[in-house]
């Protein structure tokens, strides 16, 4: 694990009218690291993801990419930097086949027409290297299981050779077996040296694959924990605010400074 964060957010604030959605939020992601972003409903997880993905830029604060300050105004900016986002339920066209979805918006062409053979070959290679098993890359996505769809959506985000992948609730609404498939895939992303931001409500998933857990509460940082050194109860306490007192805030700061 390298020491310079590939992506660092500092002092991110965002306001929707009278609602202060994010206040002075910090977040760091290093290469080959899975950071779980957790928090209760309305804690600002989605807003923060939208800031990073360029869908809803921040009002205030700075984003550093590999140590350099950058502006992320729209999704194209984020993509060009190397930030890929997999949104829950929103990433795939069910009427297209797996190849069509993987290459959506960046189709390979030869002599001006679609290079179907090339796209299919590279799709197989990509799915093979990620050990994703799908009956055929030519079946419409509508006929795949929820877990298979999620793995296809994640594989798709990798085609642009990103350095940071944001997964928005990748295991929500998945069965036990399918969740395991997706978590396996998250571990393979880490092995490939990618920084992964994993948004999840499921503490078991977070404990299983994350290296660090960043907790948001009411739009503010509420601690960053090392997963191995922290119990599930402590994380839940940080999410619900049971630890929200001067002592724990001081501890959280020292953990964050030491991390």
């Amino acid at each position: 694990m390298s020491d310079t964060p590939v992506l660092a957010l500092r002092g991110i604030s965002k306001r929707f009218g009278a609602v202060q959605a994010l206040t002075d939020v910090q977040l760091e992601i290093r290469p080959g690291e899975v950071v779980a972003l957790v928090g209760d409903n309305g804690a600002g997880k989605s807003t923060l993801v939208k800031v990073i993905a360029g869908v809803g830029p921040a009002d205030d604060g700075e984003i550093r990419w590999e140590g350099r300050q950058v502006q992320v105004h729209d999704p194209q900016d984020a993509q060009q930097l190397g930030i890929a986002t997999v949104y829950q339920d929103l990433s795939l066209c069910e009427n297209l086949d797996v190849v069509g979805n993987l290459y959506l918006g960046r189709e390979l062409r030869r002599f001006g027409v679609l290079n179907e053979v090339g796209m299919e070959r590279r799709s197989r290679e990509l799915l093979d290297t990620l050990s994703i098993r799908i009956p055929s890359v030519r079946v419409p996505v509508a006929s795949l299981s929820g877990g298979q769809r999620q793995t296809v959506a994640i594989a798709r985000s990798l085609l642009g050779e990103p350095k940071v992948v944001i997964l928005d609730e990748p295991t929500a609404a998945l069965g036990v077996e399918q969740t395991a498939q997706v978590l396996d895939l998250v571990e393979r992303l880490r092995e490939r040296g990618l920084g992964v931001i994993l948004i999840s409500h499921n503490m078991a998933d977070v404990k299983a694959v994350a290296d660090r857990v960043a907790v948001l509460r009411l739009g503010r940082n509420n601690g960053v924990f090392d997963v191995r050194a922290t119990s599930q109860e402590e994380i839940v306490a940080a999410i619900t605010g049971a630890t929200d007192n001067a002592v724990t805030r001081r501890q959280a700061r020292s953990v964050e400074a030491g991390a």
């Binding site: 986002t85 297209l96 918006g105 679609l114 070959r121 055929s136 890359v137 079946v139």
Partner: protein, 344 residues
């Protein structure tokens, strides 16, 4: 709904998979088209038995010519329906183009090319206007083009003072478009073939076509994939404008003068019926040119057969409306939509 045969491609070595894939696709598309071919065969056999001239070459040519204008509109209607949109104003757009082409032709001292060019230009403008109203005015496509249906019809009537304008059959170009034949097939039919092949290749062989299917399948996913949906939608409506203008020019060539409403009224119903019968899901993302053309042929043969048998044309309207509803009911049954509340 879709029949999947994973075995067909699972074990294929890389590189040959696309062949297997297109075979799977073909067998799927074939299922839809097979029933259309069956229905077409029944119609041809039925009217062939009832009337011995029905299957003659000359009557087939009559059917083909009559179906050409509907066919052109059905082809572009297919594209917009795949996007998840709809264009009810195509018939009125044909009327505008017909009037404009004849009036420009007459007023410029019989310059046919100028008449054609101005009509196509007006078609582009009308199409772009439709697209802009829908995308930036946030007007539902059905409502926006319903308004267009009325407005463009009025525009054609205003321009022409409500009657047929100009006479174009003293010009070789219009005579060729309306009456000419190449290799025994009417020139009009060749134009339909050319447009249909071009649109088919666009849909199936280019990234533009792939993106059109994606927009109809899941527009949020398409937008997040970086596809400029607005640009695509406006361009698709502009394409409709161009092809409707070509249809209007052919109408002028066929009738000999610019027609504001005669010959173009009700074309929207035929075009949408053909697209729906041909397998387009009205919620978007599904359909193809092959099925639409088969449906155009089926509708054309049916209409001609009913006319040949002397059946009241009022009944033909009933038959057409019924066919559209039946086609959509079949579509919805296949997609397994539950009968709860308003359909999507």
């Amino acid at each position: 709904m879709t029949t999947i045969t994973p075995q067909a491609t699972k074990d294929a070595p890389p590189g040959q998979g696309a062949v297997g894939g297109s075979r799977t696709l073909l067998s799927f598309v074939g299922g839809q088209n097979l029933s259309l071919i069956g229905a077409l065969a029944v119609v041809l056999a039925l009217f062939g038995i009832l009337n011995e001239n029905y299957l003659s070459v000359s009557n087939m040519q009559v059917i083909a010519e009559a179906a050409t204008i509907t066919g052109l509109l059905a082809v572009v209607q297919t594209v917009v329906i795949i996007c998840g949109g709809l264009d009810i104003s195509v018939g009125s757009q044909v009327g505008v183009a017909s009037v404009v082409s004849a009036m420009v032709f007459t007023s410029t001292g019989d310059n046919a090319l100028l008449g054609v060019a101005v009509a196509v230009g007006v078609g582009v403008l009308v199409g772009v206007l439709n697209g802009l109203v829908i995308v930036y005015g946030r007007v539902n496509p059905t409502i926006a083009t319903l308004a267009g249906l009325a407005a463009y019809k009025g525009l054609a009537q205003l321009l022409s003072d409500g009657r047929a304008q100009g006479y174009v059959l003293n010009d070789d170009i219009f005579v060729f478009l309306g009456r000419g034949k190449v290799a025994g097939i009417p020139a009009m039919v060749w134009i339909l073939i050319a447009v249909a092949v071009a649109v088919h290749l666009l849909l199936t062989r280019t990234d533009i076509g792939r993106n059109i299917y994606a927009i109809g399948g899941n527009d949020t996913a398409a937008r997040l994939a970086g596809i400029n949906i607005n640009k695509y939608l406006v361009a698709v409506y502009a394409l409709i404008g161009v092809v409707a203008a070509i249809a209007g020019i052919l109408l002028t060539a066929r009738t000999g003068s610019g027609q504001p409403t005669s010959g173009s009224e009700g074309l929207e119903l035929k075009a949408i019926t053909a697209a729906a019968l041909g397998g387009c899901a009205l919620r978007g993302g599904k359909g193809g040119i092959g099925g639409t053309l088969l449906a155009v042929a089926l509708l054309g043969c049916l209409e001609n057969g009913l006319t040949v048998e002397g059946i009241n044309s009022f009944w033909q309207n009933v038959a057409q409306g019924a066919l559209l509803v039946i086609a959509v009911v079949i579509q919805q049954r296949r997609s397994g939509e539950r009968a709860v509340g308003l359909p999507t």
